[in-house]
C-alpha cells in the first residue's frame, strides 16, 4: 500500500512516502502508525506523538480507529494550516 507524508512528518522521515505491504494484525490507522514508527529512527521521531498526527485514507480525513486495507492510499501529516 502507498503511504504518503507531508510537512514536518515528511521532513522527520526524510522522504515523501513508503510503499509497504500491510502486515498481519494491522487493521486501523492507529495500528499502522505503530507499525510505521518501528521502520527507522526518522519514522520513530515522526510518530513519537500520535495525537499530533492527522491521517487520510484514500484522500479523505480519517480517525485513528478507521480501518485500512492493502489497496488504500494512506497519508500522515500535521494538523492543516492553510487559508
Amino acid at each position: 500500500m502507498q503511504i504518503l507524508y507531508f510537512a514536518w512528518v515528511r521532513e522527520k522521515i526524510g522522504r515523501a512516502g513508503d510503499d509497504i505491504a500491510l502486515p498481519p494484525g494491522v487493521t486501523d490507522i492507529a495500528g499502522l502508525m505503530r507499525h510505521l514508527a518501528a521502520l527507522s529512527p526518522g519514522h520513530a521521531a515522526a510518530f513519537a506523538n500520535p495525537t499530533a498526527i492527522r491521517a487520510a485514507i484514500n484522500q479523505d480525513f480519517a480517525r485513528p480507529e478507521d480501518a485500512v486495507t492493502n489497496g488504500d492510499e494512506v497519508a500522515f501529516f500535521p494538523p492543516v494550516t492553510g487559508g
Binding site: 507531508f6 510537512a7 484522500q59 479523505d60 492510499e73 501529516f77 500535521p78 494550516t81 492553510g82 487559508g83
Partner: protein, 147 residues
C-alpha cells in the same frame, strides 16, 4: 457549481467576480475574502505545501457544504501553493447569492473550514535564516466548529 483552483499563480478578484456573475441577473450580493501573507516577526517568505491528490477533493466538499447551508448561486475557492512573500495573496473565497446575509455568512464559513479541513501546510522562513512549520491554532478549530 463551485470553481476550485490550487495554483502557484496570483489570482484576480475582479476577473473571478466577473466569472462568477457572468450572464446572471439574480445575484444581489458577492462577498469575498482574500488572505494575505503578513511580514510578522521578520518573516521573509511562506512556503505552502499541499496534498495534491486530496486538495481539490477536500475543497469541493467544503464548497458543497456551503452550498447546502446557504442559497448560493455559486462560489469560488482559489488557494495558492509554493513560495509566497509578505504582501502576497494566499487564498481567495468568493460567494454569490441573491441576498447579502447568505453571501457574507458563507464566505466566513468557507474561510473557517478551509483553514481546518483542506490539506495545506505553511512553512515560515525568516530573514535570520530560521524556518518553522506553522502550528494549527485552537482558535481556528473553534471557529470551524461554531458553524
Amino acid at each position: 457549481m463551485a470553481r476550485i483552483a490550487v495554483q502557484e499563480a496570483e489570482f484576480d478578484v475582479s476577473a473571478e467576480t466577473a466569472l462568477l456573475t457572468a450572464g446572471r441577473r439574480d445575484i444581489g450580493a458577492v462577498a469575498s475574502f482574500i488572505g494575505i501573507c503578513r511580514a510578522d516577526d521578520g518573516l521573509a517568505a511562506m512556503v505552502l505545501e499541499h496534498y495534491p491528490a486530496m486538495t481539490e477533493r477536500a475543497m469541493q466538499k467544503i464548497a458543497a457544504e456551503a452550498q447546502s447551508r446557504w442559497p448560493l448561486t455559486g462560489c469560488t475557492l482559489i488557494h495558492r501553493v509554493g513560495r509566497l512573500e509578505p504582501g502576497a495573496p494566499i487564498v481567495l473565497v468568493l460567494t454569490a447569492s441573491a441576498h447579502r446575509q447568505a453571501a457574507l455568512e458563507s464566505c466566513a464559513f468557507l474561510m473557517d473550514w478551509l483553514k481546518t479541513k483542506a490539506p495545506f501546510w505553511k512553512r515560515e522562513e525568516f530573514t535570520q535564516g530560521a524556518a518553522r512549520w506553522v502550528e494549527a491554532r485552537a482558535e481556528d478549530d473553534a471557529a470551524a466548529q461554531k458553524w
